[in-house]
């Protein structure tokens, strides 16, 4: 178990290192540096700027100085937002993305598990069929389509929820729903298929035989086993929500990490880009590790129950 985690941690560090290296090199070889303006600055000004931001010298020198400052847990300075360090910028923007992602995560997993279980229990009825058709439909509608329509219907048309803004729960409902919608569908499909398999198993027949109603048998026994594939999906889900929030932040005009990332590419803001990539990668690796831990824990419980 410990060996497994050590190996995972080791390979994760390597992956993050490779991604950082490739990101940095790609960002630096791209034509158009961070200090290029329409009006070319005087040469000595540009050189002083490059020196200040440690972007002078050969690509290799820049790269090693960046990696060594990273090793000292220093993410560097933003070249676009002067006087801001990358860490400060990320600290300011990350919580918004995090709140949005967490809300969508809760919506997607809860609604998905409930809908999927319902569809499996009412197999081949209209409930099942409409739930599964609805799932395929929501998977086919990306958030940059559903977002504007949600705004047009619930905010502009019916006036139930605010159009934009960020902070209160009411303002978070539409973005959260928009981000979660396709993943409700994925989770529901996963849950339905898995529960259908479990419903055929022996221990569930025993549960029914000892007099539990179908609902009780499913809630008390079947769901615990059937939820396992959903748990493995939670890691990728968190990752998708993290990167997917870029679009939702764009549609609902939320100032979060996704916008930081997109803007830093367009501004050639090397260190901000690198910082954002690091945050994304570390979070992804952590989520996957967390899922593995949860999986082993749940697995033990199954052995106990079985």
């Amino acid at each position: 178990m410990l060996a497994f985690f050590l190996r995972r941690a080791f390979s994760s560090v390597i992956v993050i290192f490779c991604v950082i290296s490739i990101t940095f090199v790609l960002a630096r070889i791209t034509p158009g540096g961070p200090f290029d303006k329409e009006k070319e600055p005087p040469k000595h000004v540009k050189e002083a700027l490059e020196k200040k931001y440690k972007l002078s010298g050969t690509l290799w020198q820049q790269y090693t100085s960046y990696v060594s400052s990273l090793a000292h847990l220093d993410l560097g300075l933003s070249t676009k937002y002067r006087d801001w360090s990358v860490a400060e910028l990320l600290k300011q923007k990350m919580p918004n993305s995090f709140a949005l992602g967490a809300l969508a995560f809760v919506i997607a997993s809860c609604a998905g598990v409930t809908l999927g279980s319902l569809a499996a229990m009412k197999r081949d009825t209209w409930i099942d069929r409409s739930a599964m058709f609805g799932a395929l439909l929501t998977i086919s509608i990306p958030s940059f389509i559903s977002g504007p329509f949600l705004i047009a219907i619930f905010a502009l048309g019916l006036g139930w929820l605010p159009v934009g803004g960020w902070g209160t729960l009411q303002q978070m409902i539409l973005p959260g729903l928009c981000l979660a919608a396709p993943y409700i569908a994925y989770v529901a499909r996963l849950m339905r298929n898995s529960l259908l398999d479990v419903l055929k198993s022996d221990f569930l027949r025993t549960a029914r035989a000892k007099g539990l109603s179908e609902t009780q048998a499913v809630v008390r026994h079947a769901v615990k086993v059937a939820i396992l594939p959903v748990v493995t999906f939670l890691g990728p889900l968190a990752a998708h929500l993290l990167t997917g929030s870029m679009i939702v932040e764009n549609v609902f005009n939320i100032s979060g990490a996704g916008m930081v990332f997109v803007n830093s590419i367009q501004n050639r803001d090397v260190f901000l880009l690198g910082g954002a990539v690091i945050v994304y990668c570390v979070l992804l690796v952590l989520f996957n590790l967390l899922v593995d831990v949860m999986y082993t824990l749940l697995d033990k419980r199954i052995k106990l129950y079985a």
């Binding site: 960002a27 679009i247 990668c281």
Partner: protein
């Protein structure tokens, strides 16, 4: 040379015919592709140009209205469909090529090579792909633009009018080329895993042993005997990769990192549509038509892919 051996499998067309939704989806996609290719050629040239009639609601002159530049929305929508479907198909084909080759080698070689190749896939899966595509496109785009310009200038210098014009047209689409290749380069992981799993089963079959005993080289076995047996599963996952690539492309274009004016794709049209929603005056046609067409196409592709998967690969449900 003997016929390629084949394990008994039902005729794909027979199975597909029984699934009515998948058949309707296939018809819709074929029809849409035909319309997207043919109709823009038949539309009068005047409609395609920018004009001062911006934001005209749908009318007899402009069936789907006009956009901010006064261009006809029907034309924009259909040329966007060309780009989106084309990017989806070509990107998926590139990923198919890489994924199939990788999966076949990994599965057939087995042992340590297989282990290393599969670990690599696991590692690649933990990289946030869409971020990577964005960086890759930003980095490569300017180089491709310069390269296209270089060709244009040398063509003009030599007086090749046709080549020069083609290069000018190509420049608007240079980002599309970069995008297609980048998407193809990152979307092959699922395909490789599926193909490898299938090869692991197939290589234990007696016809493979027979082929090897007759002196076929490993490449010969892979190409003549395994590939024909993999064709259905490859086709199935091709159908499921296309919507994934289309989604990625439109996501990039929506964020303004993908296709650039004057070229259009569904994503860039939706970006324009989303920018003009406001409570005072609704320009609904800019949003509704691209949204409808894109959702319907993705739905059809997903229906078709799911239908094919249920038919050929019933165990692999998500």
């Amino acid at each position: 040379m003997p016929e390629a051996a084949s394990i008994a499998r039902p005729d794909g067309w027979q199975i597909l015919k029984r699934n009515r939704t998948a058949l309707i989806a296939l018809g819709f996609l074929a029809g849409l592709s035909l319309v997207a290719i043919v109709v823009p050629m038949l539309l009068p040239e005047a409609l395609k140009l920018t004009s001062s009639n911006s934001f005209v609601p749908p009318s007899a002159a402009h069936y789907l209205g006009t956009d901010v530049n006064g261009q006809d929305m029907l034309y924009r929508l259909l040329s966007g469909a060309r780009v989106s479907l084309g990017v989806g198909l070509v990107g998926a084909l590139i990923s198919l090529g890489i994924g199939t080759l990788y999966g076949m080698i990994s599965g057939y070689a087995g042992g340590r090579i297989d282990g290393v190749m599969m670990r690599t896939i696991e590692v690649l899966q933990s990289v946030p792909r869409i971020l990577f595509i964005m960086i890759l496109i930003a980095a490569l785009d300017d180089y491709v633009k310069e390269w296209v310009d270089g060709w244009r200038f040398s063509a003009e210098a030599k007086g090749w009018a046709w080549t020069a014009k083609a290069m000018t047209d190509l420049k608007a689409y240079s980002k599309v080329m970069v995008m297609v290749v980048s998407l193809g380069l990152v979307e092959w992981l699922t395909m490789a895993r599926i193909v490898r799993g299938q090869v692991l089963v197939l290589r234990e079959m007696t016809f493979v042993t027979a082929a090897r005993a007759m002196g076929q080289s490993p490449w010969g076995v892979l190409w003549r005997h395994l590939l024909p047996n993999l064709s259905t599963i490859i086709l199935t996952y091709l159908t499921l990769t296309i919507p994934a690539v289309i989604l990625d492309e439109s996501l990039l274009s929506f964020l303004g990192l993908g296709i650039e004016d004057p070229a259009a794709s569904w994503g860039s049209l939706l970006k324009d549509g989303a920018q003009v929603i406001n409570p005072i005056e609704s320009k609904w046609w800019l949003l509704v038509f691209p949204a409808l067409l894109m959702s319907a196409s993705l739905l059809a592709l997903n229906f078709l892919g799911d239908g094919l998967r249920d038919a050929f690969d019933p165990k692999s449900g998500e």
